[in-house]
């Protein structure tokens, strides 16, 4: 290629377009093209970098501790850090015959004299390493420094008039479950703490009918709602106080307790749980919902494995269900029924709110009608809390999903004898049932009955298993993705992989009478029973985790619910893309296993 073409190529690579025409001209006179065959080691700890590489053709893999960290291909460049810092923790190996431009080390460092170029590479260094850190260490420090007071659960503040009596103030404080009393005097807030009460009322003899302002001692120490939590901790430590008043635009927003602050860093989820327990009505629970989403985002960005996140979210959701159940069902009825959740909630794999799939099992001999109104109420509360309506009507408000034990037993019997599409769907979600409130024995009885009914019915099981093959894995022969043409060339993760895995494992769980509902737990049990070997089990679990975590990311970013299963592979990082490909390969392997196991090629 001519000098001009080279220039165009270099110019198209950030940050070289920032160079002036003459600087670029000079640079061009210093660039060589090099060829390296596959598997050439370019840079490593012991092989210092001698040049800055810009790939024309071919690809280079970067390994950190033998783990593939990144893949560079045409148009990519590497590795500024190795040149600037003269050391490199990773290994760069040619993955596919490489033709690349080389800017010699000295020339590259010369280039760094240019402020714009310099700031690019240095800034890039920081952001990239930030990323590395998040990825590798899941550092606790970063979220700690980044969290703001507004991320916290704030106790309600008990604010009283300055001429309120001490006695009445104390009553108000108790009702508000607050720890301090605040009062406004001349545009300034004063605080009455336990110490004031002890020193001045109990020991100092001030009458409880006196005005509260008499015993108020100090001015309030406050912090802005948007301030960093770190600062809150600093202020508390400096002033040796246990709580701090949170202000926003001159108004009191609440009180931040040191105990909560410390436990926030120890365990975010704890606070959400406390809030659910404390909730007195649906509105209180609503506030919790926002926190739940934040919790998700924080945990995900910390790099916590999705299966732990979903487990946590499910646990918290169950708490909400319990709370709502208690609000709607009278004490005398509670142990005469079981509220169950099914589908992804039952499997404890739900992340963001997905459709509610719930049902009620009533003890034999109890009038089902007694539960009609409470269940309609429960359903409407759940809707208020943002649990979306199930389009299939799988909800306690639907009489179909409100039966007594014998009612469910006859339903199960009908599933064994005729498996039309509707029945198969109902069976599938019922297989994932988990009791969240009420009498768990009722569900156990039905699970046993279910296993009993399907025992040795391999013919029926094969029909159930067949659904695994409903959707093609979106991986072509040449290991590239097959995209959904009618969805803007996006990839459907649920259809493409998650469904096959979840449904297949579910069917196997039914066959081997495994009581766990969680996919990971089911896989572990299948491994324990020797149905699948340890290696394959691990592959399945990792694939499931990869697919779920990419899906979670898509869900957090999706604007619409129906879009949330679709991802655009182009937006993925290379490492994620490769993980995704590997996961699909495992899914294909699993499908083959299912075909063989259930003789699916013989089922019409």
């Amino acid at each position: 290629m001519s000098i001009l073409d080279q220039r165009k190529l270099i110019e198209s690579i950030h940050p070289f377009e920032l160079l002036s025409a003459t600087a670029l001209e000079n640079l061009m006179k210093k660039i060589d093209i090099a060829y390296y065959p596959k598997e050439t080691l370019l840079i490593s700890k012991s092989l210092p970098s001698i040049a800055f590489y810009i790939i024309i053709k071919g690809s280079v893999a970067e390994f950190v501790d033998d783990e593939l960290h990144n893949v560079y291909s045409a148009g990519d460049s590497f590795d500024a850090d190795a040149l600037i810092y003269e050391k490199c923790e990773s290994r760069f190996v040619v993955d596919e015959d490489l033709i690349c431009y080389e800017i010699k080390k000295e020339d590259f460092l010369d280039l760094m004299q240019n402020k714009k170029v310099q700031s690019y590479f240095l800034q890039d260094f920081v952001t990239r390493h930030q990323h590395l850190k998040d990825y590798a260490a899941q550092s606790e420090l970063t979220p700690f420094l980044m969290s703001r007071v507004s991320d916290m659960f704030l106790h309600s503040a008990c604010v009283v008039e300055s001429d309120e009596s001490i006695y009445n103030s104390l009553v108000k404080m108790r009702d508000a479950k607050a720890h301090v009393i605040l009062l406004k005097v001349n545009d300034e807030y004063l605080i009455v703490t336990d110490t004031d009460l002890r020193e001045k009322v109990l020991l100092g003899g001030v009458n409880v009918n006196e005005e509260i302002s008499k015993i108020a001692s100090s001015r309030v120490i406050s912090i802005e709602l948007n301030d960093f939590l770190f600062n809150a901790l600093l202020i508390m430590t400096q002033n040796s106080i246990k709580r701090i008043v949170v202000m926003h635009k001159g108004e009191i927003k609440g009180v931040l307790e040191q105990l909560d602050l410390l436990s926030y860093f120890a365990n975010h989820s704890h606070l959400v749980a406390v809030q659910i327990d404390k909730a007195k009505n649906v509105d209180d629970l609503k506030n919790v919902q926002d926190d739940l989403k934040n919790l998700l985002i924080i945990l995900n960005s910390k790099g916590v494995k999705v299966r732990y996140i979903t487990k946590l979210v499910s646990t918290l959701n169950i708490k909400i269900y319990k709370k709502v159940f208690d609000m709607c069902v009278g004490v005398e009825l509670r142990d005469k029924c079981a509220l169950i959740v099914m589908g992804s909630e039952g499997r404890e794999e739900q992340t963001l709110k997905t459709d509610q799939d719930n049902a009620l099992i009533v003890k034999d001999g109890i009038d089902i009608e007694d539960f009609h109104m409470p269940m309609v109420q429960l359903n409407s509360y759940l809707l208020e809390l943002g649990f979306p309506v199930c389009s299939g009507g799988v909800m306690v408000s639907n009489v179909f999903w409100r039966r007594d034990v014998s009612g469910y037993k006859s339903l199960i019997s009908s599933w064994v004898t005729s498996l039309n599409e509707e029945n198969l769907k109902n069976l599938s979600i019922f297989l994932d049932a988990k009791c969240v409130a009420g009498n768990v024995q009722l569900l156990n009885e039905l699970t046993d009955h279910l296993h009993y009914s399907f025992h040795s019915r391999d013919d029926v099981l094969a029909h159930i298993a067949k659904a695994v093959l409903n959707f093609e894995t979106p991986l072509s022969l040449f290991s590239s993705f097959v995209l959904e043409k009618n969805h803007n060339n996006k990839l459907d993760l649920k259809k493409g992989g998650i469904f096959a895995l979840v449904h297949g494992v579910r069917t196997l769980a039914l066959q081997y009478e495994i009581k766990e509902t969680n996919t990971i737990e089911r896989i572990k049990q299948l491994n324990n029973q020797g149905i699948i070997d340890k290696n394959f089990a691990t592959e399945l679990m990792e694939s499931f985790d990869t697919l779920s975590s990419i899906r979670l990311k898509a869900m957090l970013e999706a604007k619409e619910m129906k879009e949330s299963n679709l991802i655009n592979p182009k937006n993925l990082q290379k490492i994620q893309m490769d993980l995704l490909k590997d996961s699909f390969k495992v899914i294909n392997k699993f499908k083959k296993f299912m075909i063989f196991h259930f003789h699916l090629n013989m089922v019409g």
Partner: protein, 203 residues
């Protein structure tokens, strides 16, 4: 043995004809370890009547194409450039406005290549074209060792498909070795692409 004797003899006879001692370095033994890939753009394919429009060359050392040291020169022509050849090499009359005289261009080229081994695609043609100007100027032909890329390619391919017909077209070779085709046909461009093929074949 016989060949090297014969070549030595030929080289000596060639050197004896050298008119200008300044260029005796062309006959020195090459110790640079470098190769030079050259390519010429001409008005046509007949060295007898056609003329050189431009010469491009680039050095190779080890696994590197030293594009930092490319050579490119446009040559003044005695006749107007035919429109037919313009379509191929895209050198318009206005491009050769700042061209050098053929003697000047050839001298610069010789200084660039020195006694290095030359590499090219259908190099014989390029050498013939250059010799056409070199002979009257210095009395000699290019004395450098020459490596024909299409020959290397043929050898590499015939080893895999012994009875096969080997397609030696330039574009086929580019594709075969997954070499980026940068489009524009000009002497330096072609030389760089030829160099890439050479590096792949050499390794």
């Amino acid at each position: 043995m016989f060949f090297s004797l014969y070549n030595n003899f030929k080289k000596k006879r060639n050197k004896a004809k050298l008119k200008d001692e300044k260029f005796s370095f062309l006959f020195d033994e090459d110790r640079s370890g470098e190769y030079v890939v050259i390519d010429t753009e001409t008005t046509g394919l007949n060295p007898q009547v056609d003329e050189i429009l431009s010469i491009g060359a680039v050095k190779i050392k080890d696994n590197k194409i030293l594009t930092s040291q490319t050579f490119e020169v446009y040559v003044k022509n005695s006749r107007a450039i035919s429109s037919k050849s313009i379509e191929i090499h895209r050198i318009r009359p206005c491009d050769v406005e700042y061209a050098k005289s053929s003697n000047e261009a050839i001298s610069e080229l010789l200084n660039f290549i020195g006694s290095r081994t030359l590499v090219g695609y259908y190099l014989e043609f390029d050498a013939d074209m250059i010799n056409k100007y070199l002979k009257p100027l210095l009395g000699i032909k290019l004395p450098n060792k020459m490596i024909e890329v299409s020959e290397l390619y043929y050898d590499a391919q015939i080893a895999t498909i012994p009875q096969g017909h080997i397609d030696l077209r330039f574009d086929t070779m580019l594709k075969k070795y997954n070499i980026p085709n940068m489009g524009a046909h000009n002497a330096v461009n072609d030389a760089v692409m030829t160099a890439m093929i050479f590096l792949k074949l050499k390794s």
